[in-house]
């Protein structure tokens, strides 16, 4: 492995670890804000206890998300200096704006929220947590704007003299169609992540008849948020697939392991055997479904890998433009499969809720703690799908990943930091998971609204 491979590995490890935390933070803080709103409006202590309980778990998760986020920002310059020089005129701005418009907001108002109980008026204190919740979404917007540009570059010109991409229209960046489908898809996935977490922990307690009032309220809120958001994820995902088919047809073709262009293409549900077109194994398919999904028409044309490869060779010169097909095929299916499982579970929960038997539905409740993993799987495979599907490009059509690294780095140096970060992240993951499990199992402590301590640490 050379320095580029190792840098890719480091980036992947960092972002996957970071993205275990971020959607959960976005989803949890939203639910915490909902519970606190209920507390301020009704004055019922059960909502205050829910706020304090979920808030504490959110804070553990948030702390780890913050510290891994700094690595994320530094890595572009550290490991991808050629990329940074090439795209800095465009890509740097959203990162800087994310800091100015979102990170300051989140961190400052979170500090006010943590330490501000009884020091700020209840309404002002409530406004703080909502500001944090909105801040996390603003942050998602700007970082997704940057990512959308890598997937679908717009609003730029290539300066022949300097050889770099330069901004021609900031409005074009802001109105990138990829961004506007990335953003709701990701935010809804994050809300679903928070909801499935709250639902899973609540179910664990409800099965034990523990703090039934707090956890029944929590579970019901989570079912509603989870159902709406997981349906929304599927819906936006569907539109996203169409945008992708148009903008990055290779990604879609690889996701289906579709080698030759077809009209009325079938959707493969499950395949056994190699996905290389030469040795077809067992492949269970639904006729016409791929064409419907990708183009909204029964006999729509979906391009195959071989044809796109031929086109790209003409346009970009010799070389392979095919991502790793089995990674695309399986990450796409795991993402969607986990998403549908979430939808089914929350719909089942709504039905139990309507019947009024949620608290005693043991078979259902038993499944839910395991379902905490579903959104995490879906999120992780979703990103693996979209990022590896862009390969071999780092910026689609403009720069290849292998040309984007830092020339000053040796494989030894990057190897050293890969090992270092991996050890630190593993330790962090272990400690954070242990702490969160412990606090989740302990359940909500009693709260006296008039004497919440003003020191926390």
């Amino acid at each position: 492995m050379d320095a580029i491979d190792l840098s890719r590995m480091q980036f992947a490890i960092t972002i996957i670890f970071h993205f275990f935390l971020v959607p959960l933070s976005i989803g949890l803080v939203f639910l915490v804000a909902v519970f606190q709103t209920a507390w301020v409006r009704t004055g019922k202590i059960v909502y205050l206890r829910a706020t304090r309980f979920w808030g504490k778990i959110f804070l553990i998760n948030f702390a780890v998300g913050v510290v891994t986020g700094i690595v994320q920002e530094f890595q572009f310059g550290m490991n991808w200096s050629t990329y940074s020089r090439f795209v800095g005129d465009i890509f740097g701005a959203p990162l800087a704006i994310e800091g100015l418009a979102a990170f300051f907001l989140e961190s400052t108002f979170l500090g006010l929220w943590i330490f501000g109980w009884n020091r700020l008026s209840p309404r002002l204190h409530l406004a703080c947590i909502w500001t944090v919740a909105v801040g996390t979404m603003i942050s998602a917007f700007w970082i997704l704007l940057a990512n959308a540009w890598m997937q679908h570059p717009v609003g730029y010109t290539i300066n022949e003299a300097s050889g770099r991409a330069e901004l021609s229209s900031f409005v074009a960046l802001m109105t990138n169609s990829t961004l506007w489908i990335h953003f709701p898809h990701t935010i809804l996935a994050a809300l679903a992540t928070g909801a499935m977490f709250v639902l899973g922990v609540s179910a664990w307690h409800l099965m034990r008849k523990n703090e039934v009032e707090v956890f029944s309220k929590s579970a019901k809120t989570a079912i509603i948020v989870g159902l709406i958001s997981s349906v929304g994820v599927a819906f936006t995902g569907h539109i996203q697939a169409q945008v992708m088919t148009e903008q990055q047809p290779m990604k879609m073709a690889a996701a289906e392991a579709l080698y030759s262009t077809q009209e009325g293409a079938e959707f493969s549900l499950f395949a056994i055997g190699k996905l290389n077109n030469e040795e077809p194994g067992l492949n269970i398919t639904v006729p016409h479904l791929l064409s419907v999904l990708a183009t909204n028409s029964w006999n729509g044309q979906v391009q195959g890998i071989d044809d796109i490869q031929a086109q790209y060779e003409q346009r970009y010169g010799p070389g392979s433009y095919v991502p790793v097909v089995w990674v695309q095929y399986w990450s796409f299916r795991l993402m969607i499969g986990a998403g549908f499982a979430m939808m089914a579970l929350t719909a089942w929960g709504l039905w139990k809720m309507r019947k009024g038997t949620l608290e005693t539905a043991h078979r259902y409740l038993f499944l839910l703690p395991f379902a905490i993993a579903l959104p995490q799987l879906s999120n992780t495979f979703g990103w693996i799908f979209t990022e590896t599907g862009r390969q071999p490009w780092i910026v689609f059509g403009l720069q290849l990943t292998r040309d984007a690294g830092s020339p000053v780095l040796s494989a030894f140096m990057v190897g050293l930091t890969v090992v270092g970060f991996t050890i630190v992240y593993s330790a962090l993951m272990g400690v954070a998971a242990w702490l969160m499990t412990r606090y989740a199992k302990a359940g909500p402590p009693e709260v006296d609204p008039d004497s919440i301590p003003t020191t926390v640490y």
Binding site: L59, I60, A63, V64, V66, V67, G69, I70, V71, F74, F76, G77, M78, S81, T82, S84, R85, V87, G88, D89, G92, A93, L95, A96, I97, E98, G99, L100, A101, F103, F104, L105, S107, T108, F109, G111, L112, I114, F115, G116, R119, E166, L167, F170, S406, P407, V408, L409, M413, T417, V424, L428, A432, L435, Y439, P453, T454, T455, V456, Y457
Partner: protein
């Protein structure tokens, strides 16, 4: 003398100044956070003391750290070549800083989550080393940026990690550690109550003289370097002299129990030292020790005028808002923290 042909009224100069402001904000604010972290094992006699100390920075440290993140983002946006050369060139140093900041960042949150002495001791170590290491390494890094590091004609760093550990830059690192520790000690005299406050004041008074000596040494060497290279940049003599004067009066102010003024003095010294570095650099952003033609400047490292223009509008809109609510936070949490405030103590 490096000529400034284009004048000062341009976006490149504005962004150079803004990045200077962001780094200044980071050193000024996170400086006392680092100081409190470094002093934790020395001033915290028992767990309650240590908790008091951590709670003085509890509501604000995360917001303070964002100044660093925004400074990094602004360098990327406004001067991509500066960001690319510096971050890839200082690779291992930044790796150490990142590991330190990770350990420190979670230590505050995790420390309180388990009632056990050995658990807390581990996180106290993370706080201490996580504060000391960045305080040292950021000083070393800025010493190197100003003194010059091997940068080739392709704007790439052509040295090793050990090139960064030269005497001048190490002095810069020691100076930043001393100054941040002093800044933190003075902050604690403002934010805690007796007897911790008395101990913090005593520590600050003891630190003041050696810190003044280090600041004097660092700035004198900086001036001498600039003279050697026939480049004093824009530094008027009064900026570094005022930086030394400000830190020199801290001990006296503390003896007179003028703690607020003492904090203002350490803050002023940090601001003026950072200003000296930036004024001395201008219009360069990174100095090449190979030859001046390889220097990165606000011209050859920058983004286009269009990007700088967009970013200027964004900054003019957001910076005042950020300053407003961060200022308000300090107002909300202005009270001293006492041992009695710690639950269960």
């Amino acid at each position: 003398m490096i000529a400034v042909e284009e004048g000062y009224m341009n976006l490149n100069t504005l962004w150079f100044a803004l990045i200077g402001v962001l780094w200044t904000g980071f050193f000024l604010l996170e400086g006392f956070d680092f100081g409190v972290g470094i002093l934790l094992p020395f001033l915290g006699k028992d767990d309650t003391d240590r908790r008091v100390m951590i709670n003085t920075i509890g509501p604000v440290w995360d917001g303070n750290e964002v100044w660093l993140i925004v400074a990094g983002g602004a360098m990327f946006a406004a001067f991509p070549n500066w960001y690319a050369t510096m971050f890839s060139g200082f690779y291992l140093a930044l790796f150490l800083i990142l590991i330190a900041l990770i350990g420190r960042g979670i230590s505050f949150e995790f420390r309180a989550k388990q009632d056990s002495d050995s658990w807390r001791r581990w996180w106290d170590r993370a706080t201490f080393w996580g504060s000391l290491l960045p305080a040292l390494l950021f000083g070393v890094a800025w010493g190197n940026i100003l003194r010059g590091v091997p940068i080739d004609t392709q704007q790439e760093f052509a040295g090793t990690f050990f090139d960064l550990l030269n005497p001048y830059s190490l002095l810069a690192g020691l100076t930043s550690v001393a100054l941040f520790t002093l800044h933190g000690a003075v902050f604690l005299t403002l934010k805690t109550a007796d007897p911790l406050r008395v101990r913090a004041r005593r520590a600050a008074i003891r630190l003041a003289l050696p810190t003044t000596a280090l600041v004097f040494g660092f700035l004198a060497w900086t001036y001498w370097n600039a003279e050697q290279m026939d480049n004093k940049g824009l530094v008027p003599g009064f900026v570094p002299i005022a930086a030394i004067a400000a830190v020199a009066v801290v001990a006296w102010l503390l003896r007179e129990e003028l703690e607020g003024w003492a904090f203002l003095a350490t803050a002023l010294s940090i601001v003026l030292i950072t200003a000296t570095i930036f004024l001395n650099l201008y219009p360069r952003v990174m100095v090449s020790s190979i030859r001046p033609a390889n220097d990165l400047t606000i011209w050859n490292a920058s983004s286009t005028g269009k990007t700088l223009g967009v970013m200027t509008i964004v900054a003019l809109f957001f910076v005042p808002i950020v300053l407003g609510y961060q200022g308000w936070t300090y107002h909300v949490f202005r009270r001293r923290i006492r041992r009695e405030d710690i639950p269960g103590s």
